[in-house]
């Protein structure tokens, strides 16, 4: 599904990612963990094609194609979805209108017919139930005046409607109370499928109690310093990031 080789990314001229290698196969759930400032979100945004994140080296192959050659909207239509850490507000545009416009772009890309307003609302209602959102949110402007938790739920709702092939969740769990966290997790689990891959970027192990990853990677200082199974997350929780950080800095000194 996704193969990242030696990825280097600059933000404002500073190198944040210093050579990432990561392979995600169909049906797998990967978690990227790491302390603040390690480059987790940079990885998520670079994969999504954010213009401020400049790839200086390496390649990213998505479903056999060079992802870095695609514009952000093309990546999206090809099935790459990013659940934002800080979803933006779009005043004046309703959630329902926005999401239908997006869905129809995805459908057009797969040569499917446009979904009309009535059929779409039916679909939207069904998906809103899954994340425990009041149908009234369909008529509210995108994220405008939403609480932090509502914004995150809204991201998951969009993900459920668009049914991406590769879902990247950028700290979706941060700032959520336990109920919201459970809802978000159940939304993600709902999407878990053999043909779909999920990449969870998180600071805390907490969300992994509800979404069991197949692989866990630890990102420190722009490099993946450790990879392992779900147990790795528990060990991190127990020992803290210093446990993995030390050998990393030692490694850096050697080179």
């Amino acid at each position: 599904m996704l193969e990242i080789c030696d990825l280097h990314v600059n933000v404002d001229g500073n190198e944040i990612l210093k050579g990432i290698d990561l392979k995600i196969s169909k049906g797998e759930v990967h978690a990227i963990m790491g302390p603040n400032g390690s480059g987790k979100s940079t990885l998520a945004r670079a994969v999504a094609g954010h213009p401020d994140y400049e790839v200086t080296q390496g390649q990213v192959i998505y479903q056999g194609k060079n992802l870095l050659d695609m514009e952000a909207e093309v990546r999206a239509r090809e099935g790459v979805f990013l659940a934002f850490q800080y979803p933006v507000e779009i005043p004046g545009v309703t959630n329902a209108y926005f999401l239908r416009a997006a869905l129809n772009e995805w459908r057009a890309n797969r040569s499917l017919e446009e979904l009309d307003a009535a059929d779409f609302l039916e679909l939207l209602k069904e998906k809103m139930k899954l994340v425990g959102m009041d149908p009234a949110f369909g008529n509210r402007a995108v994220n405008a005046g939403f609480s932090g938790g509502e914004k995150k739920r809204n991201e998951i709702l969009q993900m459920l409607v668009l049914e991406p092939k590769l879902a990247v969740l950028d700290e979706t769990d941060s700032g959520l109370d336990i109920d919201a966290l459970k809802t978000v997790a159940s939304g993600v689990n709902h999407l878990r499928a053999p043909e779909r891959s999920i990449l969870i970027v998180t600071h805390y192990q907490r969300i992994l109690n509800y979404i069991t990853p197949d692989f866990v990677h630890v990102l420190v200082g722009g490099r993946i310093v450790k990879s392992g199974g779900k147990d790795l997350a528990f060990r991190l929780e127990e020992k803290g990031y210093d446990w993995v950080r030390e050998p990393a800095s030692a490694g850096e000194m050697e080179s």
Partner: protein, 478 residues
């Protein structure tokens, strides 16, 4: 905004020129030109007198300079003040007499004048340069007692109404451009809705400037008699030309007791090219007067064209319990400038006014809202609500708001809200990450921003306005 380069600079769609033989006055302005226009129109003496008075007054007036727009001095002697497609001696009496080329022009503009092809429910008066070339659905309207005809025809056939109301809202000495218009206006639409009649059709005037170096000075007068209702639409286009052209119109609305007038404009005059060359100077005076108690006047405007727009559709709330409304979307892209807004003059008791203004500035666009809310001493319990929002695209454009409030009655209340926002790189990326192109994202956000105004437009116009904004915004971010 490097991320939004997907935009293509599409050419102005209405920029073609129609090749018709025209009957044109020599360049420049003097009393002889005014006599020439008046004679062309077979006007009665009082009209000629009125024109000459206006002209003499105009000679003593100064061009206003207080507006927040910049342009080189206009040479008023280099303008052609009258141009009419031939044959126009008596004015075409029906469609068969209208030049085929002109009919084709309106077809191209999407305004077929052939009644068979018209969407039911809209009567059109088509004004080409200085004259009205066709008015549709006259018979249907006549049955209801509605008069809808070229202004010049009204001067001949409904002299009493013209004499009584012309200049009753915008006096001939009102301001520089209105006074110029009073001297040289050539045609426009006249409309009278009799007592208690709900006009069975939407009335619409379509203005087209064709001849080069011609100024268009139309005059519109709408009188809604007691208890009547009319909805009136106005559309405008012009060919692409390198030189600026002047459009100085005057519109007067009169609402008698219990009458309602809804006036909608979609202004899409040629805006000049992306470097600011050419385009129409749209210097217009529009004012309505709620003369009778419980009457209502509502202006809705979508201003996307013109190099410079200078207009303040206003309402004088003279009768008690009268209502004035102003809903506006003004878009300035490239080097366009707009200084627009409204004046709500509360004279009567329990008068109410609402002002919703949405300004959008892109590229080097300069967008100014200027509004006056005045409550006179007798305007007990007058109420105004003003909301003024600006949306910026890019960082070379500007938005300004100049609200003037004068309240002379203690029981009056005035509310003003304003906001400025910007389409951010983050918003565009968010949309793109969902598969929506930057171009569609911008038009979605802009349309969302304008929703409150668009919902006041008649259905057909609202669709048109949405499309027009999309086209006008192309090339706006990059």
């Amino acid at each position: 905004m490097k991320e939004a380069r997907a935009f293509i600079d599409r050419e102005y769609k209405y920029g073609f020129v129609t090749d018709v033989e025209a009957d044109t006055a020599p360049r420049g302005l003097n009393e002889d030109i005014i006599r020439f226009i008046s004679k062309k129109k077979n006007e009665p003496k009082f009209m000629l007198e009125r024109r000459l008075n206006a002209y003499r007054r105009w000679l003593q007036m100064e061009e206003p300079r207080w507006q927040n727009v910049h342009y080189p001095p206009i040479d008023y002697q280099d303008i052609i003040y009258y141009s009419a497609p031939k044959p126009a001696k008596d004015g075409p009496k029906n469609l068969e007499d209208v030049d085929q080329e002109i009919l084709k022009t309106y077809e191209k503009l999407g305004i077929p004048l052939d009644e068979q092809k018209r969407l039911a429910g809209v009567a059109v008066d088509a004004v080409f340069d200085s004259v009205s070339v066709a008015t549709t659905f006259k018979e249907t309207l006549a049955k209801a007692g509605v008069i809808f005809c070229p202004f010049s025809e009204a001067v001949e056939e409904h002299q009493d109404l013209v004499r009584k109301y012309l200049g009753s809202v915008v006096p001939y000495a009102d301001n520089f451009y209105a006074t110029l218009n009073s001297a040289v206006f050539s045609d426009g639409s006249f409309c009278y809705i009799p007592k208690g009649v709900r006009c069975p059709l939407e009335l619409s005037t379509y203005f087209r400037i064709n001849t080069a170096d011609t100024g268009q000075f139309e005059r519109t007068l709408i009188i809604a008699d007691e208890g009547s209702y009319v909805s009136y639409l106005e559309g405008c286009t012009a060919p692409i030309r390198d030189k600026n052209q002047l459009h100085a119109a005057v519109v007067e609305l009169i609402a008698l007791k219990g009458a309602q007038i809804k006036y909608s404009t979609i202004q899409n005059w040629y805006a000049g090219d992306k470097n600011g060359k050419g385009g129409i100077y749209n210097f217009v005076t529009k004012r309505g007067k709620c003369v009778g108690d419980h009457s209502k006047i509502s202006w809705t405007q979508v201003e996307t064209g013109s190099a410079i727009t200078w207009k303040y559709p206003s309402v004088i709330l003279q009768g008690d319990h009268t209502i004035g409304e102003f809903y506006s979307v003004a878009l300035t892209n490239h080097y366009q400038q707009a200084d627009t807004g409204t004046k709500m003059i509360h004279i009567g008791k329990n008068t109410r006014s609402t002002v919703i203004s949405k300004g959008i500035a892109a590229a080097h666009g300069r967008n100014t809202y200027r509004g006056l809310i005045r409550a006179l001493p007798n305007a007990a319990h007058a109420k105004n609500y003003t909301q003024c929002d600006s949306l910026l695209l890019g960082d070379r454009c500007s938005a300004n708001t100049f609200p003037y409030i004068e309240v002379k009655n203690k029981t009056a209340s005035v509310e003003h809200e304003a906001s400025t926002s910007k389409i951010s790189e983050d918003q565009l990326f968010y949309c793109k990450q969902r598969g929506i192109s930057a171009e569609n994202a911008v038009s979605m956000i802009v349309n969302g921003f304008c929703k409150e105004v668009f919902k006041n437009l008649p259905m057909e116009f609202a669709v048109e306005a949405t499309k027009l904004l999309g086209v006008s915004l192309e090339g706006s971010v990059g």
